[in-house]
Subunit: 375 residues, 3 copies
């Protein structure tokens, strides 16, 4: 631990301070974030939500809303959920199945699963109207270990690999693309979304806030292996008596992928700007999608993934993982709300990060570089 | 139908596109609308609400609130509901009866039914105070076929006839001034008020959205006879088996006025800027008053009027009309909310109107001329 | 009464008019008020809430939140409720007891009851970190007749005596510092906070709005003895049959302090900018703390104080006072809401104050002098 501490410490810039108040409260900065941070590559969710041709779900990621679907050729596609006629939201049910086409419920404009406009009553009577000019607007899609990322636009042209060099080639041994979703819980947090990200990126608070978690892993153990850019994080080591982050400390499902003995004793935690918080354990994955609603209000949807074969095993106890994080989440959201209350006070001024909060300083620095870019 | 289609088509400007996003979402444009569109002539409701001397109702039409009353001489008057002392809302009950005067509940300042200040405790002790300078502020009143219009102000000096040349002399044969109100239903729509107006002005959506309505009338039948300015609309023809817009397709009350055989087989639909949507059938009238609350929120109050003698007839079945429109309204408001969601997306861009949406292009054009006027 | 009227009249500037609309509706003016009016000296409450060493309560006075506590030496202290680390609200429970220290629930940073930082895990590893630079931020405290005032900051350097010269030495004969709190009722008023202050400062409305109160005291009796600056008010005289402001008109508890025969027959009413409205009767005190939430929304917390020995007496009937003011409060808040509705109309324009509203003109004048100061 001594040596680990030095390692983490090395990445820490002493004197780093928390962000000024306006970053947590200003409507103008919030608007700028929606353009600069929340448009471009965002995580839509896990592929297990769309197993079959025609199955879809909606990504409600302010300011955008997209239809993410599996097409007839088995590919994943994403379209802005906006009819090209009068702008109506084409599909409002959060998930479901399309047969051969997507029809707007207003005037029956109809699109193929490839987004092409294939029906538009009376429009043939309009001189010069060409349906090829009015497909659903597509978003680029990239899959990373079973997670679907879509580029919502806003002029962001970087490739996935350019945006997230640290993710490329990482974590394949967990075989996360094969997992199945078992549970999804939505939360509403009365806090700025960055407080949620910052809270995720340190375990300095674990002894005080998460007594149960703190018994399973020494918060000073482990190391950070992604320390700059849009993806940040590292791992923590379970204590001798613990095998996973669960209520019992035991694993609750058959193992994921093909893990080394070391990875079988670790939890990996990555924040991926702008909206993914990823928790990877030997026996399950839990991830949050973070959706800012206002400077002081954030939706978080937490989802649990397991080995697809786990369900048929006698000793499958998913509640052991679900209850653990539901309790931990609520502890975290509560303190994020206290944080929002505090930083909104005129008495707040930036405070000093501790050496255990080096990732927060890295997060702030990367965030500010995007917000202040003159490009 | 072939020929009708050409007629409607003639009024359509090919290439007309829907309004840009900001007109549905911008608080600044919304504020400007309250001044430019919603002050001036607005519809207050139907005369049957104030049958007797002293009876009144409140018109809650943002940004204004007015007392509309019948005075002792039988005339209709309207006053801004603001005490001239400290600005208190003088009367808060939405409808009722004044005896001889209107008294503010705060400091007992008292006004006659003609608005004159007739009591103000202690004010005689103020040098130079002249009660004649402090009447309730009056608004001009105009009655059109039983509908009370008031000029809420904002420097709008056009007469009713100048504002609505298309309405002058129109529709007298329905004798709507004699009707009685039977039902009023308030709705709250999470949509911009213009989406509500635009939705009203086309039946292109009827086959998809209103299957029951679509059986009663062919949406390509009829014609538009008011195609520019503040009042827009026309008629639709009932199918051979239908006699009115009701659940049963039969009339549900004794006929209105003195109608020609043609008018007895038609529904007439007019939108009257800024707040009246009028539905006239052979056996009843249904009208909406539209009150914008926010860029993305609109109150609509729907009211049903019948022949005053209908109530005494055995075969009076008002529910047949009320249920029909309540169902249809909810279908409309739902799709207006989907529209608001869609046009709020950064992916929205103006789309092409179909030939069946010529009135929407006319509405947009007139609306923009008011908003962009340099007067 | 004749002579009294002249006295009050003398302080009245004829021709004084109510404030323009924007002072009740503008978000910009509201923001400016939070800085200019609501930072500086504010009333936190009564000392009886913190009888023992370590006992505390939170003052939630937008934009500030402070911990008000009794320290080990028996003194009263106030600290901004903001951790110096990441800005977290340190304590969220509205009242309670600290043992020896105040610990933030997030990362266990710990402060003494004197505000000094006495624990901060890992921070010793940060070069140059000196805990003496990171105490909880203190606010100056002044006690006036048992009421705790704190200076929340914002660069306001005037002493309590400079801010409230009229309060110095006033009202000591009621011995209010010895009273005990018996009841606290929170209200939410959909009105601007100034309408609440203005309503408090006149009894011109009493005959119309408060028939019960009006039987206990002639609203034209008494006199105003503080007529300019931040503290305004005076007294009213009970009628011959009445002894206090209660449902029965009788006193409901043993007397306060050592009152002259005259003071035993009077109610004293003072508004103390920015947030205290004080009602002092021979047998009890009721005060409001006023906390603006938005231009059109205000929280009011009303609290009743009695002689500490009252509780042991057989004829202690606190409900007689509590019910009286709860009824009166609700009448007042209702009319403040009508006021807010009215002044928000475009038809509102400033109206003339009556001679019975001289304190409102004084309030407006002082308020405007602060808002328009070029300092």
């Amino acid at each position: 631990m001594e040596s680990e501490f030095r390692k983490t410490h090395e990445t820490f810039v002493p004197g780093s301070m928390t962000l000024p108040q306006e970053y947590y409260t200003s409507p103008e900065i919030f608007s700028k974030e929606k353009e600069r941070i929340f448009r471009g590559w965002v995580c839509a969710g896990h592929v297990s939500r769309i197993p079959d041709a025609g199955s879809y779900f909606l990504l409600d990621q302010a300011p955008d809303n997209l239809i993410v679907l599996r097409d007839k050729e088995g590919g994943v596609r994403a379209f802005h959920n906006v009819c090209r006629h009068r702008g109506t939201r084409v599909e409002d049910a959060p998930e479901g199945m399309f047969s051969n086409s997507i029809q707007c419920s207003y005037h029956a404009w109809t699109y193929g699963l490839d987004g092409k406009l294939i029906g538009a009553p009376f429009m043939k009577d309009v001189d010069g109207f060409n349906p090829e000019n009015f497909p659903l607007k597509a978003a680029d899609v990239h899959q990373w270990n079973g997670f679907i990322f879509v580029n919502t636009g806003g002029g962001k042209t970087a490739s996935f690999e350019q945006e997230y060099p640290g993710l490329t080639g990482r974590m394949s041994q967990w075989n996360m693309g094969a997992l199945k979703s078992h549970k999804r819980i939505p939360y509403e947090v009365k806090s700025n979304w960055k407080y949620v990200f910052q809270n995720f990126n340190e375990c300095y608070h674990c002894p005080t806030l998460h007594p149960a978690l703190n018994k399973l892993a020494d918060y000073t153990s482990g190391n950070n292996d992604l320390t700059e850019g849009s993806a940040l994080g590292g791992f923590i080591e379970f204590t001798e008596d613990s095998r996973s982050m669960t209520m019992t400390g035991r694993t609750c499902a058959i193992p994921l992928g093909d893990l080394s003995p070391e990875d079988s004793r670790r939890g990996y935690y990555y924040s991926v700007l702008p909206n993914l918080l990823l928790n990877v354990h030997p026996d399950y994955v839990m991830f949050h999608l973070v959706s800012p609603q206002a400077p002081d209000r954030t939706k978080v949807i937490s989802e649990w993934l397991f080995n697809p074969e786990a369900n048929s095993k006698k000793d499958f106890r998913p509640e052991d993982a679900i209850e653990f994080w539901d309790i931990t989440n609520i502890q975290d959201w509560n303190v994020c709300e206290l944080g929002q209350k505090g930083v909104s006070s005129p008495a707040y001024e930036p405070g000093p990060y501790s050496p255990r909060e080096s990732l927060l300083a890295a997060f702030d620095q990367h965030y500010l570089s995007i917000m202040n870019s003159t490009k």
